[in-house]
Amino acid sequence: MDEQAPMIRVERLSKQFHDLRRGPVTALGEASFHVRPGEIFGLLGPNGAGKTTCLRILSTVLRPTSGRATVAGYDVATQAGEVRRRIGFMSGNTGIYDRMTAWELVEYYGRLYGIPEEPLRERLENIFRTLQMNEFRDMLGSKMSTGMKQKVSIARTIVHDPPVLIFDEPTSGLDILVARAVLETVDALRDQGKCIIFSTHIMREVEKLCDRIAIIHRGEILAQGGLAELVDRHAQPDIEELFFELIRRHDASSDAAATDSPPVPAADHSSRTTAARHTL
């Protein structure tokens, strides 16, 4: 697949916020990566690392402070409409309407994407069958279980058959059965040749799904590449150890740079790693 041109190009993308408590905050600092069709690109990072900010910029909901990102050749800042037509976005924040049935909701978004009525109906039947949603197609959002809601969200994400799919922690807060179903769907979408970005903080998901990953922490991409390649390059036993090692190194260097905070004792490495593993 390497011969194919990247669907998503992110070049030196930055986003700054202003926070009352912390002053100007860099949520994302000069991130760059490419994603090709038929590939799942994993964004791996702890909470608050800047994953969501990055993906929101890609979905045109936020504007970048500097840098450039294109989706299918369209700039996310200047051609937002074209970009939105070509992506499907799903995250913990993309809820579904309480007072709409599953069918109505997916149909509504299909119409917003400008799909004509007849093909839309066929597409809906198809999606509802594939995702096994027919038993609750006329159920209101407020009555659905989490698993049903998640299926509706996925159906909504793929209703217009977009070449690019963005999943921002799609499994957070789900029970294991639902989470597994979501991951299987994502895997199936890759096999259809979609270009997929998948952000998570769960190592197993990355190992199972992703072709290439970027480890992101405090708004910076610490490393990126194929899974095996990364593990080899940094001489770590697995992706999990690699992740914590990279984060430890980054924190140690930035702590050393800051004059007023005490440096992290190097001997504390292993216990820190375990502590961090628990929090994740």
């Binding site: 916020f17 202003h18 009352l20 408590r21 002053g23 979905s59 045109t60 909901v61 936020l62 504007r63 402070t65 800042a77 937002a80 409409g81 939105r84 037509r85 992506i87 976005f89 995250s91 913990g92 924040n93 993309t94 809820g95 579904i96 309407y97 309480d98 007072r99 709409m100 509504y108 978004y109 119409r111 917003l112 994407y113 400008g114 909504r156």
Partner: protein
């Protein structure tokens, strides 16, 4: 904008709202049930409510002259305009057979009255004396009144405890005295002491007590009617015409048709209800569509759909408007029908109220037409608030202020003395409310045509502005993704005072404006009194300067020093290219004639000047005041104080948004608002735009100060120009025509000014902002890239 998407969003939102039981209840069920239920409640109240009878005690009842006033414990029915009122007054008398039947409390009271009779008579005599003195407008009444008051006080404590509400004391031998005067008159006597009564009956009552007041009103009405009968008796006996007491007898004919009486009631109720219901009808759906969607996490889902934010907001706006509109109209219809039904019911029971016809079809059409701009305005406003709110709970907090402002404006327009004027017709809410009031009262549409156009056009303008604001809110990331962060007062204060920034923030600028408004509001009464009481015009000018210094300059200076790291930069106290100073010198001279002419042409539009202002304006023209003082008060002080505040602190804060045009407009509107008087608000807002442009382009306050100084200075000089000066020097003939108050600029002069002003203003408006400002706060987009090419050096 893709209207297909707008329609899709609109239809979805409407369906969503219709599936929400709360909305349905608010919009449809509540109005349909509320008014009939309230009507039934009121009906029950009126049925079960019977007025208590009140008691009047008549002392020496036997001495009442003919014809009879009282018979068997009642005042005769014929003395009341409504005969049923006779039942509501119970009469006790001291006639021997009645006295035996008195209750112990009444009997005790009668005894007390008898004991106090001399004092009561004394009081009556005194009251009579005061009455006589007042009718003769004699000066010695003050002392009499004082005595009367002291005597009244002694008795009032006693009467408050009385078991009766009104006490009628008839003087002994009144009957004989009246009949004696009848006789003398009949015998031809026409003047002299003998025709006056030696003493008058006393009607004792206590108007501070509601029961006594009602009883007295009834008794008084009956006694007056009875007195007229006594008079007729007297005239008949004396052989005089019965028309003697009313020699002119004008005939008053009430041409009010019953539907007009109804119209009068509708004209008060409908505009009020329309305004309130438009607000509430818009608010709840707006909160659900704005903050609710944020809260439930469906907002982001919608944002990543192909619909643009304009389309989303427009779709939501149309939904809110539909609900606001239907709520208002349903409420009006329900109230109208209930009201009519109620009146019909009451009319059936015999009360003479006349039918309450519903408004005519034309009036109904007007109600519907005017409900549109009102609904649009409140929908857009509510939506903007709802977008701003983080949660539905926060959103609810914004309802009260919005409702209060709407009700305030509505109350103002409900005032019977407020009528539709050109100025009011362009005010939000007030315009539609007054127009509707006039239309419901049946004012001829022809005479309202102009106002109607003005009201609808201006209302639509306000709605579009509000909608634009809502869309703007929706496009801002910080508002769309506002996290529910905990507010820490201490942290915030520390941040404010310690971690200062070079120039103020947007909210600090807004706060400065609010502070100026508050200070002006607080000092308003004191200053006005001082102005009116000022002994000489010099004092007025001093006050004017103090006012400006304390309410305008001080807040800006204080905030600049306290809250910013670089007060000089904040207040724009720095040099600039001389060409800006030149512009500040020349522009006011060119704009002055145009501004004066514009205000003159707009004179019909504005209300009269209030008294305090006239006083100030008079002081400006008073030749007795030294010229330097006038210039100091009207040119130097405003130029420095107002520029420091509005182009200094406030504009510096507003321009941080990078939206310079918006900042210029907002600062000049703020500048306009503090001028309070409509004429000056208008004038100052326009000039504020020029001043803001000068400040933004030059990056310095000085050109603006110079502009302001020259502009106000020439006004002072013109006002003090000798009246005959124009006549003497032919040089000014081509500039000025007329003299004194009538002075105007010639069309030639105005044309020259306009030709000069247009390119200058264009140059000012379309150029780039001064460099120092852009460098520190680079624009987010490349929008200002073009401007940099022609940047102006500081």
């Amino acid at each position: 904008m893709n209207w297909r998407n707008v329609k899709l969003i609109f239809l979805r939102e409407v369906r969503d709202q219709l599936r929400d039981r709360r909305t349905l209840f608010m919009v449809a069920v509540l109005p349909l049930i509320l008014y009939p239920v309230m009507g039934i409640g009121m009906l029950n109240m009126t049925v079960t409510f019977t007025e208590q009878t009140r008691t009047v005690l008549v002392v020496n009842a036997g001495d009442l002259p003919q014809p009879p006033l009282i018979a068997s414990g009642r005042i005769l029915e014929r003395h009341f305009s409504s005969p049923a009122d006779s039942e509501k007054i119970r009469v006790l008398t001291d006639a021997p057979e009645d006295e035996a039947a008195l209750s112990p409390a009444d009997a005790r009271f009668l005894k007390e009255v008898r004991a106090r009779l001399p004092r009561l008579e004394q009081l009556a005599a005194l009251a009579d004396e005061v009455r006589a003195a007042e009718s003769a407008s004699a000066p010695a009444t003050a002392e009499l009144k004082e005595r009367l008051t002291s005597q009244q006080e002694e008795l009032s404590g006693w009467f408050e405890q009385a078991p009766v509400q009104v006490l009628l004391i008839v003087p002994k031998n009144l009957r004989a005295d009246v009949e004696a005067i009848h006789g003398r008159l009949a015998a031809g006597a026409r003047d002299g002491e003998a025709l006056e009564l030696p003493s008058h009956p006393i009607l004792l009552h206590n108007s501070a007590d509601e029961k006594s007041a009602i009883a007295f009103r009834r008794v008084r009405q009956a006694v007056d009617a009875w007195e007229r009968e006594v008079l007729r008796e007297r005239l008949k006996l004396a052989g005089l015409p019965l028309s003697l007491p009313s020699p002119v007898q004008p005939v008053a004919i009430d041409l009010a048709r019953t539907e007009k009486i109804a119209a009068n009631i509708w004209s008060k109720l409908f505009p009020a209800l329309l305004v309130i219901m438009s607000v509430t009808g818009a608010f709840y759906p707006a909160i659900d569509l704005g903050a609710g969607e944020k809260e439930r996490g469906t907002m982001e889902t919608l944002l990543i759909s192909p619909a643009t934010r304009h389309e989303i907001v427009t779709g939501k706006f149309l939904t809110v408007m539909l609900f606001s509109f239907s709520t208002a109209l349903l409420n009006l219809a329900s109230m109208g029908f209930t009201g009519q039904h109620m009146v019909a019911l009451r009319a059936g029971t015999g009360a003479a109220l006349g039918g309450m016809t519903l408004p005519t079809l034309t009036a109904v059409m007007w109600i519907i037409l005017l409900a549109v701009p009102l609904a649009a305005l409140f929908s857009a406003l509510s939506l903007a608030f709802a977008m701003f709110a983080r949660s539905t709970k926060e959103g609810q907090y914004y309802l009260t202020p919005l409702l209060m402002v709407a009700i305030g404006l509505m109350m103002f327009s409900m005032n019977p003395s407020v009528e539709l004027t050109p100025f009011y017709s362009v005010m939000p809410v007030v315009g539609p409310a007054l127009l509707l009031k006039a239309l419901l009262l049946g004012t001829n549409l022809g005479s309202l045509a102009f106002s109607a156009v003005a009201v609808i056009a201006s209302s639509l303008c306000y709605s579009v502005l509000a909608l634009w604001w809502a869309i703007d809110q929706f496009q801002r990331e910080d508002i769309l993704f506002r996290e529910a962060e905990r507010f820490d007062m201490r942290l915030w204060l520390r941040h404010l005072l310690r971690e200062k920034e070079a120039i103020p923030s947007f909210s600090e600028a807004a706060f400065c404006f609010v502070l100026i408004l508050l200070l002006q509001f607080l000092s308003f009464n004191t200053m006005r009194d001082q102005f009116l009481a000022a002994q000489h015009d010099g004092r007025v000018l001093q006050l004017q300067m103090i006012y400006l210094l304390t309410t305008v300059a001080t807040p800006a200076l204080m905030m600049a020093v306290l809250l910013t790291r670089d007060p000089l930069r904040t207040l724009k106290l720095r040099g600039c290219h001389p060409k800006w100073l030149l512009a500040g010198l020349v522009l006011p001279l060119i704009l002055q004639p145009l501004a004066i002419e514009l205000l003159h042409q707009m004179r019909w539009f504005f209300p009269e000047l209030p008294a305090g202002v006239e006083q100030t304006l008079k002081a400006m023209t008073n030749p007795g005041v030294p010229l330097w003082l006038a210039l100091l008060a009207f040119a130097v002080a405003p130029a420095i104080c107002e520029e420091l505040a509005f182009r200094g602190f406030i504009l510096s804060g507003l321009q941080r948004t990078q939206r310079y045009r918006l900042a210029a407009v907002m600062s000049s509107v703020a500048f306009g608002i503090v001028h309070m008087i409509p004429q000056q608000v208008f004038n100052a807002t326009l000039l504020g735009l020029v001043l803001a442009a000068l400040a933004l382009r030059s990056g310095s306050l000085y050109p603006g100060v110079l502009f302001h100084l020259v502009f106000n200075g020439t006004q002072v000089l013109m006002a003090r120009m000798p009246r005959d000066m124009t006549a003497e020097s032919g040089l000014l003939d081509w500039v000025i025509r007329g003299t004194g108050e009538q002075m105007r600029f010639t069309p030639a002069c105005l044309a020259v000014c306009a030709v000069l002003a247009v390119p200058l203003l264009m140059w000012l408006a379309f150029g780039p902002v001064a460099r120092g400002w852009r460098d520190n706060y680079p624009a987010e987009s490349g929008a200002s890239a073009g401007e940099e090419a022609t940047a102006v050096g500081a």
